[in-house]
């Protein structure tokens, strides 16, 4: 056995190592480049009342949770109870972004299942969603007092994530 003939085996071992690690990763999960950057500005109509407006400027000085959802989104139903709990506990303001939806469908869902949101912005054509890098609803952002995005969660928020990650982060940001 000499060094040269061992090279293929060594290279293969390295490859196999990466493949093994790869099995534990999800190739479809995309991290957001918006974390630690200012939340993109916008000013759009609210879901209700339709003549009122919302802008992230309104939330300056407060730590808040920004949740993108829609009436047609099945996964949003999964996280709905968690959001209701969050609202009941009055941890921080919960602002919703109703993404590419119909007003009456959205209002209907909220009436049936409850409304955890303090304010809901209505993103009819999805432009705000694009600015926030939304590609799969639901998605949620923790935004601090200065208006900087500190955390993005893709997919429905589980109770575990809420308790272990989101709420502690919000509390930490509120103290600073």
């Amino acid at each position: 056995m000499n060094a040269k003939t061992l090279i293929p085996l060594v290279l293969f071992a390295v490859l196999a190592g990466f493949l093994a690690v790869g099995l534990g990763l999800d190739p479809r999960e995309v991290p957001s480049p918006l974390v630690d950057k200012p939340a993109p500005a916008f000013k759009i109509a609210q879901l209700e009342p339709a003549d009122a407006q919302f802008s992230p400027e309104d939330m300056k000085g407060k730590v808040w949770l920004f949740n993108v959802w829609a009436s047609w989104c099945v996964a949003c139903r999964q996280e709905h109870p968690v959001l209701m709990e969050f609202a009941r506990a009055k941890v921080a303001p919960l602002i919703g972004l109703d993404y590419k939806d119909q007003r009456k469908d959205a209002l209907g869902v909220l009436k049936r299942t409850g409304n955890p949101y303090d304010v809901i912005a209505f993103d009819a054509d999805g432009r705000v969603g694009i600015d926030y890098g939304v590609y799969g609803v639901p998605e949620s952002y923790v935004i601090d007092k200065a208006g900087v995005i500190r955390y993005k969660h893709i997919g429905p928020i589980t109770m575990e994530t809420m308790e272990k990650t989101i709420i502690p982060l919000i509390q930490k940001l509120q103290k600073s």
């Binding site: 003939t5 293929p8 085996l9 293969f12 071992a13 196999a16 493949l19 790869g22 190739p27």
Partner: protein, 649 residues
Amino acid sequence: MIPELGQFAVILALCVSLVLGTLPLAGAHYGRREWILLARPAAQVLFLMLALAFAALSWSFYVNDFSVQYVANHSNAQLPTLFRFGAVWGGHEGSLLLWVLMLSGWTVAVAQFSRTLDDTMVARVLGVLGLITVGLLLFILFTSNPFDRLLPAAENGSDLNPLLQDPGLIFHPPMLYMGYVGFAVAFAFAIAALLSGRLDAAWARWSRPWTIAAWGFLTLGIALGSWWAYYELGWGGWWFWDPVENASFLPWLLGTALLHSLAVTEKRGSFKSWTVLLAIGAFSMSLLGTFLVRSGVLTSVHAFATDPRRGVFILVLLVVVVGSSLALFAWRAPKVALGGSFALMSRESLMLAGNVLLVVACASVLLGTLYPLLIDALNMGKISVGPPYFNAVFVPIMMPVLFLMAAVPLARWKQTSIKDLALRMWIPGVLALVAAGLVPSLMGTWTVLTGLGVALAVWIAVSGVIQIAQRLKSGLPPASFWGMHMGHMGIAVFVFGVTMVGGFQEEQDVRMEPGDTVTVGGYQFKMTGIRDVPGPNYSATQGVFEVTQNGGAVRMLYPEKRKYFSSTMPMTEAGIHSGFTRDVYVSLGEPLEGKAWAVRVYFKPFVGWIWGGCVFMALGGLLAMMDRRYRLKVKAGALDAALVKGAAA
């Protein structure tokens, strides 16, 4: 009842493959003749068992037995019978059963056609194939059983994915698997040679026809997939550098290198270690491809539904097979004797250079395919590596290979000079340059890439014709000579097709209603109507188009937009007329207001040459395989004796 019989057959097959994978190898090692002689019959029984299992699964599909989970997932009572058969390999479990059936098919073929080969060698080869079969059968039985029952049985199945309901796609997986699995034979020969310590020209001569056959099937399998994507997806594209496509291309690149390396080892006794390594590499790429497609580590349109357990199992299989064979290589390879000497400038060294470039190309495609995984594993973020990267990297590496392809057959063994080559190659050179200037200009605009593409295609083609003409002067050459030239000609045809369609295709996205015309690529496309047509398991809207050129012959095209009952995504069936020098292609987009539709119209010059070239290559392989030399009853070792005798004289 039948599914249970099928299940039982698979279990029996596992037992037989365990016997095949152990006793003959032990027998070869310890010299136990009875164990060595077990190999051939074991291979036959193994094949029989798996054929029965496959037949049982096929029967379940034929009679619409929705109490079998796999059938319920991939078939439907309205599914036409032909597609019911194709649905057998439409999903993960069934396709694996096909994989292992083919492996046993190749195994029994080796058992059958190796009567003149030494029994101990055969025992080793079949033994290795048996071991691989054990691994696959364990995988099937523990994680991917096609015979699992669904109780209570479903009323009706979920239907085969509409994309797969197409004759072209029915043949694509079997052809591909024949290729992937076929490289296991070359692998087994290589391992057997390493185990026995006998790596000689005879081994190369035995491996060659099997390798050529596998390579030919893989070429056809890849071509079928590409052609299917072209006419089915409605966008006219034929290669997307998708991870699963790359997974099939990697063994092809190493397989091509292996083909040529085996030729040199057989004729000159050189490159033995390198050839063995390539044989291990080609099959390793097949296994790696299987892993990539079924484990979920990469995103792809082709990927099967994944399950992390399966990924782990295949990875373990991959590590065991490839790891142990590379370890064996590291241990045994240095003991192999060196072949003859050859000059820095000789046919051997030029072929070796081509080999190195093919391996570099393979490594590059592998790097690009796995890089996102690499970056993610190292926590350095998420990136995508797509067609722009692969095109930028692959094409420049292949150009020298194409250049060499024409020159190498003219180079002399052992020593040749540049002057010598230049003298023989000036005609192809000049013609290539002339064509490079002329053809693109005639088609429209001249660019560096189109010029280069045409030049290389003509260079290879003309060089081939000249060599054939010269060779014919001294009598009729053997089949392998024709095979090589047909194969190389196939590449020239392929390169020409790619260059022409890439450089000069035209398309238009228009709004059409009945009565409208649009002109693309010199052809007039007139939409004469739009109508509804029902299908067995879908409903479709069909456009009727008249295509003419300068008022000449009228072709009718019928593109469709289909809504399958089992799926929400509409499917496009393009309307294509294929000609020798061009395709005209119409695809329906979305319906607009009234009777108007968004329509995409294409003119694709020489696109058929892409797959025609692949067919040529495969035919070339077939010819090369049929050479009489492989059927001569020459005992192993006699060839070496002849070489030694000649050298001593």
